[in-house]
């Protein structure tokens, strides 16, 4: 558990440092995720403590969005002015994305 958490933090740290050095506009943790994925590919398996800890962390993933979500209170003014544009964009884009993904996948499966 402690080893796995250390590992995740080390990958995140390496990701952040690489992003700073390269100037890539990609979030550091995403680079860390990619590096961990490549490491697992090379090693050919995921160690059990890492699997357990990741599962623990990800099973409570939605809790982790709450503090940022509460930040919506800082944007009430903006939401009041732009809610219609944002709402229409969200609904239409979600339907279009589902349709496009499903249709292309079915087309390429044949």
């Amino acid at each position: 558990m402690l080893g796995a958490i250390t590992l995740l933090l080390v990958y995140q740290l390496v990701g952040e440092v690489l992003v700073q050095l390269s100037g890539l506009p990609v979030p550091g943790p995403v680079v860390g995720m990619l590096l961990l994925f490549v490491t697992l590919l090379v090693r050919g398996r995921a160690p059990e403590p890492l699997r357990d800890t990741s599962q623990q962390l990800l099973s409570h993933l939605s809790l982790l969005f709450v503090p940022a979500g509460v930040g919506v209170m800082l944007h009430f003014g903006r939401l009041g002015a732009e809610w219609l544009a944002l709402a229409v964009a969200l609904v239409a884009s979600t339907v279009l994305t589902i349709a496009a993904t499903a249709l292309v996948m079915r087309l390429l499966q044949r």
């Binding site: 995740l8 933090l9 995140q12 890539l24 990609v26 979030p27 550091g28 943790p29 995403v30 860390g32 995720m33 990619l34 961990l36 994925f37 590919l41 995921a46 890492l50 699997r51 800890t53 990741s54 962390l57 990800l58 993933l61 939605s62 809790l63 982790l64 969005f65 709450v66 503090p67 940022a68 979500g69 509460v70 930040g71 919506v72 209170m73 800082l74 903006r78 732009e82 219609l84 544009a85 944002l86 229409v88 964009a89 969200l90 609904v91 884009s93 979600t94 339907v95 279009l96 994305t97 589902i98 349709a99 496009a100 993904t101 499903a102 249709l103 292309v104 996948m105 079915r106 390429l108």
Partner: protein
């Protein structure tokens, strides 16, 4: 010690912000199970509403609350890194369907960003809102990272991402039935690309196959959007 003194003491310590976050989430999750996991009773949305009401009633600034809540917020980073593990576990599925999955991922990822930004722009949304809206189909920790990097508002993104997840979980069945798509692998992948973790949770309630493909789609779309979106922004200028 008077009650107000206790309040003055507690309101300056991070303990309170952290504790109310966890308590609100537990309450919201309890309601979610009472609602039989209906996507409209999303626990993040309920917890956020409870906390916003609490801060508003007690006249507490967000910055004060965040001093405590930041300990939870910090875990988004390692959680993002941890997404590599389920992605790796789904590797076999990816290998067997490499062409259809990569084609569908690319199409879905592009349509998600371009349609959201395009429609928002046509309806007059501001540039900051558009940048916060663009990564809405990506799992929250990655989406917030993307928005932050490119000048959006991460907290607005968090809210838009959760709203998208709820919409995807509610609208997927009707959309896919209309298109007469029955294969659970295709249905799951489409929901995962469009509606990340909330869509994936929904897909797992229908079948194991649907859930696994949704989870795979969520991880891949997060990665792809993180690399693709900065390029799109550069093109857009």
């Amino acid at each position: 010690m008077k009650l107000t003194d206790i309040w003055v003491y507690l309101s300056t310590s991070p303990l309170l912000g952290l504790t109310v976050t966890l308590v609100a989430y537990h309450a919201a999750f309890w309601l979610y199970t009472k609602a039989k996991l209906n996507p409209l009773a999303n626990p993040v949305a309920i917890a956020v509403a409870l906390l916003v009401a609490l801060l508003w009633l007690t006249n507490t600034p967000y910055a004060t609350y965040f001093e405590g809540a930041q300990f939870v917020h910090f875990l988004l980073g390692p959680a993002t890194v941890a997404l590599a593990v389920p992605l790796y576990a789904n590797l076999e599925r990816l290998r067997k369907n490499l062409l259809p999955l990569s084609g569908a991922l690319l199409a879905g990822s592009l349509v998600a960003v371009v349609s959201a930004v395009g429609i928002g722009w046509l309806l007059g949304a501001s540039r900051e809102s558009l940048l916060s809206l663009a990564p809405k189909s990506v799992t929250t920790p990655i989406a917030m990272g993307i928005a932050e990097k490119l000048g959006g508002l991460p907290s607005l993104t968090a809210v838009l991402v959760v709203a998208t997840g709820i919409l995807g979980a509610v609208l997927a069945r009707g959309t896919l039935n209309l298109l007469r798509i029955e294969d659970h692998a295709v249905r799951g992948f489409a929901v995962g690309v469009a509606a990340h973790g909330i869509g994936t949770a929904r897909a797992f309630q229908v079948s194991e196959t649907m859930g696994a493909f949704a989870g795979l789609a969520m991880g891949l779309n997060g990665l792809l959007t993180a690399f693709l979106f900065p390029l799109l922004v550069r093109l857009w200028g």
